[in-house]
């Protein structure tokens, strides 16, 4: 497998990243090396093996359905890059 610049650009689009020309070049080579290394997993037969998503076997963790205080508007908005009243401001989404 060979990671092309176009592949890198496609992954960057999915990841919402904009890479410089140098970074694209760098990442193509490095991702190639790393993905080449992880190919070794294919040596293992994993037919019938159940995938592990968590180290501790877990059921859904439900809490009691009771109303509790939440963090509140002021604190929730305190780190907003831009806000107005009780809202986060973002560039216009709908024309």
């Amino acid at each position: 497998m060979k990671m092309t610049i176009a592949d890198v650009e496609q992954v960057a689009r999915l990841a919402r990243l904009e890479l410089t020309a140098e970074d694209k070049e760098l990442f193509a080579g490095q991702m190639d090396a790393i993905l080449g290394y992880v190919e070794k997993l294919k040596e293992l037969n994993t037919d019938g093996i159940v995938p592990t998503s968590h180290a501790v076997p877990m059921e859904n963790a439900f809490r009691a359905d009771v109303v509790r205080p939440s963090i509140g508007l002021e604190k929730a908005l305190a780190n907003a890059p831009e806000k107005t009243g009780t809202f986060f401001v973002v560039p216009k989404v709908i024309e």
Binding site: V8, V11, A12, L14, A15, R16, L17, E18, L19, D23, L26, F27, Q30, M31, A33, I34, L35, Y37, V38, K40, L41, K42, L44, T46, I49, V50, P51, T52, S53, H54, A55, V56, M58, A61, R63, I71, K75, A76, A78, N79, A80, P81, E82, F88, V90, P91, K92, V93
Partner: protein, 484 residues
Amino acid sequence: MNIFDMTIHELHGALKGKQLSSLEATTALLKRIESVEPQIGSFITVTAEQALAAARSADQRIARGEGTPLTGIPLALKDIFLTEGVRTTCGSRILSNFIPPYSAASWEKLRDQGAVLLGKLNQDEFAMGSSNESSAYGITRNPWDTSRIPGGSSGGSAAAVAAGQAIATLGTDTGGSIRQPASHCGCVGLKPTYGRVSRYGVIAYASSLDQVGPLTRDVADCALMLEAVAGYDPKDSTSVDTPVPDYSAALTGGVKGLRIGLPKEYFIDGLDPDVQKAMTAAIDTFRRLGAEFVDISLPHTDYAVATYYLIATAEASSNLARYDGVRFGHRAQADNLLDMYTKSRSEGFGTEVKRRIMLGTYALSSGYYDAYYVKAQKVRTLIMNDFISAFTGVDVMLTPVAPTPAFKIGEKINDPLQMYLSDIFTIPVNLAGTCAMSLPAGFSAEGLPIGLQLIGKPFGEETILRAGYAFEQATEWHTRKATL
């Protein structure tokens, strides 16, 4: 003895006995930070004024006879722990102005005991790294040799303990990020069993692997810190509701009859000769103390790094999607929403973080999901099964923490795969979700600390602490100090 070199239990004794006040201790630590920080770079933020205020109130608490083992003890936290009102960057430019609206559960527990926060410690950006070179706030240097890395990602947490800049610290460990820097800096570092400590308020890297743990000057301090932060937290649905033992009481009892496994895959040809020598000497020490050794095998060890770099990066790409410039963190100016997301992230994240987001996005993308991500999850099952079956015959395992002592600054920064392979002995423990501790076990010919890893069964922290304590009582490695 210098105040800044004391252990928690020594300082607690001095506070209780009124030989020292927390204000004196905190002042001594702040002075030490000021004098050695230009050489080391352990801190991103020093909270001197809040620390002095907390020390004064700790002294009042002690005077009222209400002190606990951590009251008035000056500590510091990796900058991955949210601290209400104190800037928390996670080593990233994207959080350079972030003031958390609430605190991490583990820090709240320490603070409620009256611990004093000296500041927030340097780390690899978003805990992604093994050398502390990926921080947006400058590198951290190893106190034993400032031309070398302290390890990572909790490099500031280990360097601060080794350099006398904090009595003890908290770090996080996703693939070795507590144990490897502890090994490189000559301190004790423990990664608890997954679910033992709440992750609430800890900035997420790879949620199925991340765990909070202490870095300390000896095993007794490690037990005190673990006991303080462990326990079920309804706010972390992955924390496990099982009682917290009295870890300090578990220290004594020795290792007579303890069955220690030596996994053959961890004693490979590429092991540094000084590391090999330290392991051989440690095995002799344990044998002299009455432990029995058993040769065991963890046959899928060689696949752990590949498994980790698929699972961890996949989880990271998902976790780091929240940094979009909308609600907090860096926002770039842009005309439309998509450009705002993209530019904010591209300006805010450093190269290693971008690389891992890219790898994770690739592993999760359509057409590759089964071949990479699900395959890695299946191999993770095989790795866990290795541990389950090996632990039927032994109580703990003994291995090196890292294949070499601390490497030179810049040595691996341009070769991410080589950097990733430096975590080869620590990563399997995170994948298996069990507990392990690094403790000082010798020095290289060049005078660099070498750590030994004790791996325990899930929720077997008491056993590794007891074994570690017995080893520490029989050796003097932990008493040596870096000269600065």
